[in-house]
């Protein structure tokens, strides 16, 4: 009898605990819960030259927003993601909204134009009257290559090799 009572009592207590736990958990069944994510992105100039980074918005150069980095300089952006919305961050955040190309000009001697887009895209905005080659985002040295844009901490370093491999503009990069 006592055993029975103890057993039944324990079961009841267990049921109560389970039900209360369930109710407690249901209380937290709101949408959009989740951890925040910290992003830390940077661009470092180790090219040996002063560089200017000029954004293009929908294919049009925006000279109002030029970033200048002397050799050794680092630009840094931090962002905390909180739901709702898509997590992630990208190097485009250093530039104005809708930036789709960025020209990296080395001391007005050489230039690289990096595209946000894939080479496959034939509907994307293009830069009109552009005589310099476009480096699309499949290129591993493109600032917008997926490898520099899908982590929480990303550092893109502009190297001496980047300068060496850039296109000569004969002092007329702008």
């Amino acid at each position: 009898m006592l055993m029975n009572y103890l057993l039944t009592g324990k079961i009841k207590i267990m049921k109560t605990i389970l039900l209360i736990s369930f109710a407690f958990l249901m209380m937290r069944c709101g949408t959009d819960q989740g951890e925040s994510i910290e992003y830390n992105f940077s661009i470092t100039n180790s090219s040996g030259k002063t560089i200017k980074m000029i954004p293009y918005i929908n294919g049009v150069k925006d000279t109002n927003y030029i970033l200048t980095l002397t050799n050794g300089d680092t630009l840094n952006k931090k962002y905390t993601y909180r739901p709702p919305g898509a997590a992630g961050y990208s190097m485009t955040q250093f530039f104005p909204s809708n930036t789709d190309y960025v020209a990296v000009v080395y001391n007005n001697e050489k230039i690289n134009i990096y595209s946000v887009y894939s080479v496959q895209c034939n509907t994307c905005p293009v830069i009109s009257n552009n005589s310099f080659p476009i480096v699309f985002n499949e290129n591993s040295r493109n600032l917008f290559n997926v490898n520099f844009n899908d982590g929480q901490i990303e550092n893109y370093t502009i190297t001496v090799d980047d300068f060496q491999n850039a296109t000569d503009c004969g002092g007329n990069c702008y």
């Binding site: 069944c29 989740g34 739901p83 898509a86 909204s97 887009y117 894939s118 080479v119 844009n149």
Partner: protein, 571 residues
């Protein structure tokens, strides 16, 4: 029989216990609701009428419209005018001033089911220190009390209430409908048989004997020469909001109340942000109350969000809401208004006030405009609201200080969860439960992906509609400061839950082509958001939803690519 009764009693105790625990847990959860409000001053009542100076936070005024005061005013007129000969005029209660104390959300719903009654969560016969209403602290962990004045014969909702005072309001008495409009009526004046003289002198006496005569006298009145501003005037104006993306743009569908003691006139802003209300006489205060029949925006978690305008005579109110709570509440209101009353692409409405759904009657949706953008994120939960008897709002927006398009989009996002929850409550609850409580991470992911990708689709469409179409900015993308390009510029690795997958069935962009490898392959297009909403019925997880879309729309040209699209995001 006894055994059964015992069982029932035990069950009742048990349920009470559970509810108690849940309630306590909700209070813990909502702890920061209280800390976000500032100031420690409590309500201090000062009964000094002479100067109407507020020493504390508020001052309860002597009520000129109480029947007692009006009777005394009439008696005074009769005493001072021995030849008074208006025979057919009697003062009797025309209105009652009420305080409602709803006990739960259902009772608040009963109050809000009659849109002809305007409620305020502060007294109507009280003057408050500037800013007090914006920073007050909730009295207790309870539903707000509501004040209003209604005609004496109005059938009241069955909610606990007390009559604070019986009123006689001459301005609303049809007996005085034909009094003359006089811009400057001298007071006190002789009263014999003229209704016009009686009307103005009655008001003057009632207001002056209660220490409120400044409310009705013209600005150029002196202690020896006094006039009542007697002209009817029609409050009007324009409400704009300083939108971070679109600039100064009209706030549409906002409820502007013109309050003069117990008389409230209502106007709704049109597409240009313009409004007009019914007439008032004398001084009245403009109030923007961020509420419509189906939803109410709360200031923080508890109080009705309002923007207080000037207390004026014959002046329009043209306001640009720029920054702070006013801008925040305006944008949240705009999103809710567009969703409930604007172009929502044929979608069903989010939960509608007093609508009877298969799971029961829905009350007005409360959207808490929380003044923070940290801590737990914005959310929707009908359960949280249900088990706290409406103490906690169904929707919490926590984007204070963020760009307007994000505040707008987040509000749409949360209301899209709400829509999902009334589209198919059983499936929705199942999805939510498995999204958070399943022990299997794959199950959690496949449920959560469906749960969150649906509102992403609606928020993208509606935010684009606002900025690209309504405000004619064809290059706008969701969101301007995040460079996510309508959720297209996000790698598969980075985001597994808040995916563009459902929106991708509508748009014509293939991310893989545009941005290359690492981005979703999307060859699907041509579905409408309404079709995709239809497929939510019965869908319990990501691939289940995919199969429903395919089964419901077998003739879509891009149907063969649906599997590939959904497979971008793995469990």
């Amino acid at each position: 029989m006894n055994k059964q009764t015992n069982k029932q009693t035990t069950l009742k105790h048990f349920l009470k216990y559970i509810l108690g625990v849940m309630f306590l847990s909700s209070l813990l959860y909502c702890k920061d609701d209280f800390t976000e409000l500032q100031g420690e001053e409590s309500l201090k009542i000062n009964h000094s009428y002479s100067a109407r100076e507020i020493n504390g936070d508020s001052l309860i005024l002597d009520n000129p419209y109480s029947v007692e005061n009006m009777l005394a005013a009439l008696e005074n007129i009769k005493n001072e005018n021995p030849d008074f000969s208006v025979k057919d005029f009697v003062i009797k209660p025309s209105h009652v001033y009420l305080k409602f104390t709803p006990q739960n959300e259902e009772e608040v719903g009963l109050l809000k089911s009659d849109s002809t009654i305007h409620y305020f969560d502060y007294r109507l016969d009280c003057e408050y220190r500037e800013g007090f209403l914006d920073t007050r602290i909730p009295d207790s962990d309870s539903i707000s009390v509501y004040y209003t004045a209604v005609p004496i014969d109005k059938i009241l909702p069955e909610v606990s209430h007390e009559i604070i005072s019986e009123l006689y309001i001459p301005e609303q008495d049809s007996y005085f409908d034909d009094v003359m409009d006089i811009e400057k009526y001298p007071v006190p004046n002789r009263v014999t048989d003229s209704k016009t003289d009686l009307f103005y002198n009655l008001l003057y006496n009632a207001f002056s004997q209660t220490g409120n005569e400044d409310d009705i006298l013209t600005d150029d009145s002196t202690s020896t020469s006094k006039w009542i501003f007697g002209t009817k005037w029609y409050p009007s104006g324009r409400i704009l909001v300083s939108d971070d993306i679109a600039g100064n743009v009209p706030v549409t569908g906002a409820q502007v109340l013109m309050r003069q003691w117990f008389t409230v006139r209502q106007g709704i802003t049109d597409n240009g942000g313009y409004f007009n209300t019914g007439f008032v006489r004398g001084k009245a205060r403009y109030v923007l109350q961020w509420e419509r029949y189906n939803y109410s925006v709360r200031d923080g978690s508890f109080f009705q969000a309002e923007t207080h305008g000037p207390n004026v005579k014959q002046q329009s109110w043209n306001k640009i809401l720029n920054g702070g709570k006013d801008e925040y509440h305006a944008i949240i209101h705009q999103a809710a208004h567009d969703y409930y009353y604007g172009n929502r692409f044929g979608l069903i409405s989010p939960p509608m006030n007093q609508h009877i759904y298969s799971f029961g009657k829905q009350s007005q949706i409360k959207i808490a405009g929380r003044l923070t953008n940290s801590g737990p994120s914005s959310s929707y939960s009908h359960i949280r609201s249900d088990v706290t008897f409406g103490l906690s709002a169904q929707v919490h927006i926590k984007d204070y200080g963020k760009p307007s398009d994000q505040v707008y989009g987040t509000t749409i996002h949360e209301l899209s969860h709400a829509l999902h929850s009334v589209k198919d409550r059983a499936s929705y609850d199942n999805i939510v439960r498995d999204s958070f409580l399943s022990g299997n991470s794959q199950v959690r992911k496949r449920n959560r992906r469906l749960l969150e990708s649906w509102p992403i689709a609606v928020e993208t469409l509606m935010t684009l509609e606002r900025y690209r179409v309504r405000f004619n900015n064809p290059i706008y993308n969701v969101y301007s400061s995040l460079n996510i390009v309508n959720y297209q510029y996000r790698t598969i690795v980075e985001e597994n839950l808040y995916t563009s997958g459902i929106y991708d069935m509508i748009d014509t962009v293939n991310q893989r082509t545009v941005y290359g490898s690492g981005y979703p392959m999307d060859m699907v297009n041509g579905y409408t958001i309404k079709e995709l909403e239809n497929a939510l019925s019965g869908a319990r997880y990501w691939n289940d939803y995919r199969d429903k879309v395919k089964a419901m729309y077998p003739n879509k040209p891009t149907r063969p690519y649906v599997d590939e699209l959904f497979a971008n995001w793995q469990d």
